[in-house]
Symmetry: C2
DNA sequence: CCATGTGTATCAATACAACAATACACTAGG
DNA sequence: CCTAGTGTATTGTTGTATTGATACACATGG
């Protein structure tokens, strides 16, 4: 459960704290993180990625509000007990829906036929 | 060439001026806008979408810097002469590449197999 | 000429993200 | 007990991004 679990892009337009929350949501939904798993400490994550501990704390706090994580006083943050099991495939696919919609809209503005888009994505998904 | 050509989502995280630039890029790449086409005036767009004229002007200015548009003094903005023709399919697909990469990364974090993702996208692309 | 239409330079207001430096409450383990 | 490890509240600062209000320069067309 080390700090390298999280991928952070400091230059992305999306703020760091939200990158962390979204990533946790997906890792939990897929079952890569399960109930009880202890997360890396805010200081570990901050040190590893050279960011501010409070930024990580903010992300953890938001994840707790959403019910993704729970706080174990003195120990750290863990995946919440309410997250019993990995989501079904349908539920996980639903998390991708907004992105899929936006992609489809852009493809339409580009007047791209479905086929080349699907083929390119298929290629990327296999790596 | 009226102001309804552009779609704007004021509540999206992406800033309005960038929504406009990106959209222009795609409409020009696809040939829906061709060299010489006159764009709706900043005040028309601003009035129609209830946003500030300066926000539209900023978008037009950026698009001009990129060579997408050119300024016809006293008349308005038009699609630049350097944009001779619609891009090839390969070029247009390249504009989607960053979004496709991010989508693939998220699908991997969700441990979603390629098939359901591709099927859902295929459905959305046909509408 | 002048009324009306362009785009835009300038300045201000606001919000947000991230950082920094503390200090605090809590717990596990020696 | 006490040290070292949790997360977090607080305060302040910095940098940046976005949007807005206003005034201006310019060109067109009657």
């Amino acid at each position: 459960m080390d700090a390298s679990l999280l991928t952070i892009q400091p230059n992305a337009p999306e703020p760091i704290y939200r990158q962390i929350v979204e990533q946790l949501r997906r890792l939990i939904a897929s079952g890569q993180l399960v109930t009880g798993d202890l997360l890396p400490s805010v200081r570990d994550v901050a040190g590893f990625h050279a960011i501010n501990p409070m930024t990580v704390s903010r992300a953890y706090g938001l994840a707790e509000n959403e019910g993704l994580l729970e706080r174990l006083r003195g120990k750290g943050m863990a995946v919440a007990a309410t997250q019993r099991a990995a989501h079904t495939q349908v539920q996980r696919l639903a998390l991708l829906e907004p992105q899929l919609l936006e992609l489809a809209r852009h493809a339409r503005e580009l007047e791209l036929p479905p086929d080349p888009v699907l083929r390119r994505l298929s290629k990327l998904l296999e790596e």
